[in-house]
């Protein structure tokens, strides 16, 4: 018997296995090429944890928005906020009154009411529980719920910019919270067009369609987000049909991909602004002269010209030209290593100084190259730069940027449409620990514009704050880039500048 097995059965089994192996890639390709039921998205940043409030990153907001929804959202087309879970709102002094949408059901069948809003805000304010979104409610004194469909946010002082803070604040089901307790995020229940199926550590998210969605059923049944930080790997997946949609296509591949039979390139000017941030609790960045020297040592236009083949938009001030509150009069610090050297000497570093530059390789387009180029530029003015790349989770969390632990780092602020967002988040005393900057005069300006509902006046104050940032050289503004997406030709979607990818806006042509 055993002899028989060792020849005949072995050969048979071998032949079957060989046939299976030969057929396998074909089968996989067929299964995952854009079918009408599923879209597979390979993205450089998919949720880093199952906790939907443990981040503040535009593309990740987009991921979670499939399941849990915000009260309102900024519409790029209308350049204003539009209601999602709320129907209308009113600004009354230090009160914001929201009327909730009626007849919205959670995935567990519960009805959406004011209780869920209060519950979710509590979760977002729970920093010990892992939320990184608490600063958005810093100025909220109280939340009132006069009835099931009215929510009133009472702020410490009138706060004109509160709608911006509510953008991307997603609502969970309180009933699910009561039922699952600590395990609420593993059993995520929202009102969104998709239901949560699974999350894998390392960043794979799977959603399935919510057929009873209040806003109408989505076209595509299943959505798979897979985190792939390597540009080349995402590209290969798209070209081979393994992925239907990828982000951050390297610009040097655009010309070739435009001729690809299966792929389309969609390009849009991104809202994400890239910059180098100083943490002013660290030496030498507490010294204004050193910060100015650093500003004089970085040649952002040269990076756009050479690394991005000219596809990009250098910032002339602390924010890009299209952002609310930008000042056309601002000029960026010109590239001038000689001047930088003088400033460094004045600051007490005639022989240059040693600095560390942190970044998270693979997070943003060509980040590794940008940091290497800047390191080489800064050497010319006397900064000796050590480059340190960290895993994103380590880089961003309490051990890194958000714990105020990194002295100097490369970062992008996404979804930037209003200068207040950046000015408050990075430079106002105590909002975050990202730069540890504190200046009472500056804080006053920020608070004043947040109270001001007249947009002309607000612009003026924001421009004043911007001037303060430039004069004090609080960071090194760089540029906005084009968001370049690679899309299967038969997939339709709505291009957006805010890095969100919404599967319910997608359609697959036969």
């Amino acid at each position: 018997m055993s002899r028989d097995f060792s020849r005949r059965s072995f050969l048979k089994a071998g032949a079957t296995a060989a046939a299976a192996i030969a057929a396998w890639p074909r089968y996989v390709l067929d299964a995952s090429a854009a079918s009408r039921d599923r879209v597979t998205i390979f993205h450089s940043s998919v949720a880093d944890s199952i906790h939907p409030y443990n981040h503040s990153s535009s593309p990740i907001y987009g991921n979670w928005q499939h399941v849990i929804e915000p009260l309102l959202e900024y519409s790029v087309d209308r350049k204003d906020f539009v209601g999602v879970l709320v129907e209308s709102w009113q600004f009354q002094g230090n009160k914001w009154v929201f009327k909730l949408r009626k007849g919205v059901k959670f995935h567990n069948g519960a009805t959406f009411t004011a209780k869920d809003v209060v519950f979710s805000v509590e979760k977002m304010r729970d920093e010990k529980g892992g939320s990184l979104q608490a600063p958005n409610f810093k100025d909220v004194a109280e939340i009132q719920t006069p009835d099931d469909y009215t929510v009133v946010f009472v702020t410490k002082q009138p706060m004109a910019v509160f709608l911006d803070r509510l953008d991307n604040r997603f609502v969970l089901s309180k009933e699910a919270g009561d039922k699952f307790g600590d395990k609420i995020y593993e059993n995520l229940i929202g009102t969104g067009p998709y239901k949560f199926v699974s999350y894998q550590r390392g960043g794979n998210l799977v959603f399935t369609r919510n057929d009873d969605y209040w806003g109408g059923r989505a076209n595509i049944k299943e959505v798979v987000f897979k985190k792939v930080t390597e540009d080349a790997a995402r590209l290969a997946a798209l070209e081979s049909g393994q992925a239907d949609f990828i982000n951050n296509v390297p610009d040097h591949e655009v010309a070739r991909l435009k001729k690809h039979p299966r792929v389309r390139i969609d390009q849009v000017e991104g809202q994400r602004m890239f910059f180098f941030a100083f943490n002013m609790a660290f030496k030498p960045w507490d010294n204004k002269l050193v910060r100015q020297a650093a500003n004089y040592s970085v040649d952002a236009p040269a990076i756009i010209r050479n690394i991005f083949d000219g596809i990009g938009y250098p910032c002339n001030g602390p924010v890009g030209a299209n952002v609310f509150g930008a000042d056309p009069k601002h000029k960026r610090y010109p590239y001038d290593p000689k001047k930088a050297k003088e400033l460094l000497a004045q600051a007490g570093f005639p022989n240059g100084c040693d600095i560390q530059l942190y970044y998270s390789a693979g997070r943003y387009p060509k980040d590794r190259e940008i940091c290497q180029v800047v390191a080489a530029q800064m050497v010319k003015s006397g900064f000796r730069v050590e480059l340190i790349s960290q895993e994103w989770a380590l880089f961003w969390d309490k051990q890194g940027v958000n714990g105020g632990r990194l002295p100097f780092y490369y970062i992008g602020r996404g979804g930037l449409t209003d200068a207040d967002t950046l000015y408050d988040q990075y430079f106002r005393t105590g909002t975050t620990k990202r730069t540890n900057y504190s200046n009472p005069e500056y804080d006053k300006l920020i608070e004043e514009q947040q109270r001001t509902s007249d947009s002309k006046k607000r612009t003026q104050i924001l421009q004043q704050a911007g001037k303060h940032i430039m004069d004090e050289a609080l960071f090194i503004p760089l540029f906005n880039l084009a968001d370049i997406y690679g899309v299967a030709r038969n997939l339709e979607w709505k291009k957006r500048p805010d890095e969100k990818i919404k599967a319910w806006d997608m359609k697959i042509k036969a």
């Binding site: 070739r256 050479n306 190259e369 480059l387 340190i388």
Partner: protein, 279 residues
Amino acid sequence: MLSFRHLKIWVGGAILALLVVCGVAAPLLAPRDPQMQTLEDRLRPPRWTKNGLPAYLLGTDNLGRDMLSRIIYGSRISLMVGAATVIFAGVVGCTLGAVAGYFGKTADEIVSKVSEIFLAFPFLLIAIAIMAFLGQGVGNLIMALMLSRWVQYCRVVRGEVLSLKERDFVTAAKALGGQDFYVLFRHVVPNTLASVTVIATFGMAIVIITEASLSFLGLGVPVHIPTWGSMLAEGRSYINRAPWLTIFPGLAIFITVFGINLLGDGLRDIFDPKLRRQR
């Protein structure tokens, strides 16, 4: 002397010698500073192709740095990491192995158990774990590689010592009043050197590949030091537009490892009594 029998050793040795010369004389051989970026000249193909510039024999990389100079400087890291790891791992492994084999009992128990624990881990995985723990740097890299390489020496030397210590010349040395450590390191260990040399040459090839793998994964030496592995990693996303970014560092690794393996093969042919008899 240059017989066909020794051809492997000659070719392998020549490649290794060339590598050593490259590494030692890098500042003299490299036409440019390997760090110098000339952004205007980025992604230039090798000199002999249509768009090549005479200044760059093997072209430039994505930041306009000279490929040839980076490959020459890259040999330093490969060589230094390879040699240092082999020497440290060899000394540690041989000593522990010799002690375990010669004294037996508790010493043997401890050393054998520890080496079994190390053996149970996949080699690359343990190196990755150590690098993630210690952080980037050449010293840490050598340490990580050494910790994952010493076991092999230890096992082989222990085995050899076990059989050698029963031999008459050892008994004779003891009878003449030799102390244990004297007998061990004067009479026993030198007899294991043939096998250790063979392991060391093959080991060096493995270490060079592992260094390249770790650099490729971004866990090796800091980014500003050119290494073949990190050059491969950076060039990978340009493989369609600028294949020379990956071809040349890849070739450098291939030729080096090929040469060292050839040398190791040749040495084994000479030292292995079984193979010697067949000829």
